[in-house]
């Protein structure tokens, strides 16, 4: 009798404990169209529904039928991601991604609905290569709780299934309207900080600049940098770079301009001002010229008197 009571109690307790952890972070995989034809381009959104959890990091792989689909573009604008550790498809075959959201993420609030809803991590524009059946999903997704201990939480992913038919022939422009228009983005990237530091374990202790801009349009495409001994920059002479950037002038006596450029060419420029301005009287060449000038003047005066 007592054994039976204990078994029931343990069963109840196990049920309660397991039901407490039923929430899993879910990645929603949403396409911009339902019918797929050879030659189509369409955009797939990967959105995170935290489902009551507070997470601050996630990684995984974009898994898709590569015999049917190819990746045209990755869009990271207007995203929940705070800092990218690895953006997906930096190369054609690199389908992994990893990022953090400092201070945590529970979902996105909006005036159009109550509570939290899922937010976009990134989207991928695919093109359809041939007929057949395929899929797009996130594999090996791992989300981490915002608890300071990197506790992993259960993560699931939806799957987008698609059946590709032969190309439609009645529309000339049907490739274009399914993809959300990034070309309407005229907003520059948000203002961002450029911070300087140095560390013995990075760049052999050289001074470097760290920066990270955000863009609520099409997303950041790249950064450019311009170093100059005098204030101001020209339209040419910029070099494509990435963060962190090793400062060329390690004396920190130059102006460094960092430009964030989004996918549509909109720009935001930040200035790092020199912290070690070389003053004119420190130049040996200046004092040398003064000295020579005085000698010349003295010689001239002497000759005139003679």
């Amino acid at each position: 009798m007592i054994k039976n009571v204990l078994k029931i109690c343990v069963g109840v307790i196990v049920f309660v404990i397991s039901s407490v952890s039923v929430f899993a972070v879910n990645v929603e995989v949403v396409a911009t169209k339902n019918d797929f034809f050879v030659g189509d381009k369409f955009e797939v959104y990967f959105k995170v529904n935290a489902q009551g959890e507070n997470i601050n990091a996630m990684n995984g792989y974009v898994d898709f039928s590569s015999d049917i689909l190819s990746v045209e573009e990755v869009r990271t604008g207007n995203s929940i991601v705070g800092k990218w550790i690895r953006k997906p498809f930096l190369t054609e075959t690199q389908n992994s991604f990893a990022y953090i959201i400092p201070n945590g993420y529970r979902g996105v609030l909006s005036p159009y609905y109550g509570g939290y809803k899922s937010g976009k991590m990134f989207s991928v524009v695919f093109s359809v290569k041939k007929t057949g059946s395929g899929y797009v999903k996130i594999s090996n997704g791992e989300a981490y709780l915002n608890d300071g201990k990197a506790t992993k939480t259960k993560t699931t992913s939806g799957v987008l299934y698609l059946n590709v038919s032969a190309a439609e022939v009645f529309s000339e422009n049907f490739f274009e309207y399914e993809i959300s228009s990034g070309s309407a983005d005229v907003l520059s990237p948000d203002e961002f900080d450029v911070l300087i530091s140095k560390d013995e374990d990075i760049f052999e202790g050289k001074w470097f600049l760290a920066f990270d801009a955000k863009d609520n349009g099409a997303g950041i495409d790249h950064y450019e940098v311009y170093e100059s001994g005098s204030k101001g920059y020209s339209t040419s002479g910029w070099a494509v770079t990435e963060s962190p950037y090793v400062v060329e002038d390690q004396n920190l006596s130059s102006y460094v301009y960092v430009k964030a450029v989004d996918e549509n060419g909109n720009e935001t420029i930040k200035t790092f001002e020199p912290s070690n301005i070389e003053v004119w009287y420190n130049y040996f060449s200046f004092w040398g010229a003064i000295f020579l000038g005085l000698i010349v003047v003295a010689v001239i005066i002497k000759k005139v008197r003679i």
């Binding site: 109840v12 005036p111 530091s197 963060s243």
Partner: protein
């Protein structure tokens, strides 16, 4: 017996039934089309609860966009213009009149185009400090801070390491928002502890604020210093965790580490630098 076993696995801390405050968002969006009609000037309005006289800081995507003062009732309200539409990661935190900072309330909002967006019910957790880092037997531990005036404060003291224990106490803040709780160390035994507090207002509860660690020892060490710096994730030791630390850590992401490098960059001691270490860094991320 079932009830006893069930109670053992439950962790009821307080008897009150309280709901966690959730930041709320509404918006007035400009109507498009039609002739005439004035257009609205878009802005985002933030409002909520802090402490009397607190300085409230508002950040968007880790950048400060507003600094304001809460009134004598602890309420604050602020309009910010020139916020672009789209998803923004807002963080709001406060500094009390003694200069102690709260935890931040962070949330993502999809700001509509051309709208007056109202973000309200932002409930900033109380501040809390402990007067020392180490206590001996029988010493009084002064736990104090600021919250909304005249509200219930829930103090939670947890032991860390060894046997897990939680001690709870309900007190009330004064008319100026100040509260204090002064137990003796005998109540808790020896070891490491952390204290955090949350408060109630209008039927809702704030989240627990920043925790403050202290130690109860048989013998006091003279080397303890009171400092909020020294987080392992603060790699350049500037008392901030930001993109500089992020990129220093990134240098060693999935790289082979020496034993010396593991001590510095492997925050969870699993022998490697991977996303779990960045998750720990993200938890301690601080504002500029």
């Amino acid at each position: 017996m079932c009830a006893v076993l069930f109670a053992f696995f439950s962790v009821p801390v307080f008897a009150d039934v309280i709901l966690d405050a959730v930041v709320s968002v509404s918006a007035t969006v400009e109507e498009t089309g039609g002739g005439g009609g004035g257009s609205i000037t878009p802005y985002v309005k933030f409002s909520g609860y802090a402490y009397p006289g607190a300085t409230v800081y508002i950040e968007s995507d880790s950048k400060n966009i507003g600094i304001l003062n809460a009134n004598s009732d602890g309420l604050f309200s602020y309009n910010i213009y020139n916020i672009t539409s789209g998803i923004h990661d807002f963080s709001i935190y406060a500094k009390d009149i003694k200069g102690n900072f709260s935890n931040s309330v962070s949330f993502l909002v999809d700001v509509p185009v051309e709208s007056i967006t109202n973000i309200f019910n932002v409930f900033i957790p109380p501040t809390v400090v402990v007067d020392k880092l180490q206590y001996g037997v029988g010493e009084k531990i002064k736990i104090s801070g600021y919250a909304m005036p005249g509200v219930p404060i829930y103090v939670e003291i947890k032991s860390s390491g060894g046997v897990f224990k939680t001690f709870s106490k309900k007190i009330f803040s004064g008319g100026d928002g100040y509260f204090e709780y002064i137990p003796t160390s005998d109540l808790f035994g020896y070891g490491l502890f952390s204290v955090s507090v949350k408060s109630l207002y209008g039927g809702f509860s704030s989240s627990f604020g920043t925790s403050f660690d202290f130690q109860i020892m048989k013998k006091i060490s003279l080397s303890a210093t009171s400092s909020r710096c020294g987080q392992k994730v603060d790699l350049n030791k500037d008392c901030k965790v930001n993109i500089i630390d992020f990129f220093i850590e990134f240098r060693w992401y999935k790289k082979t580490l020496t034993e010396v490098q593991k001590k510095r960059f492997d925050f969870n001691n699993d022998g490697r630098v991977d996303i779990s270490d960045f998750s720990i860094m993200a938890f301690y991320w601080t504002r500029e």
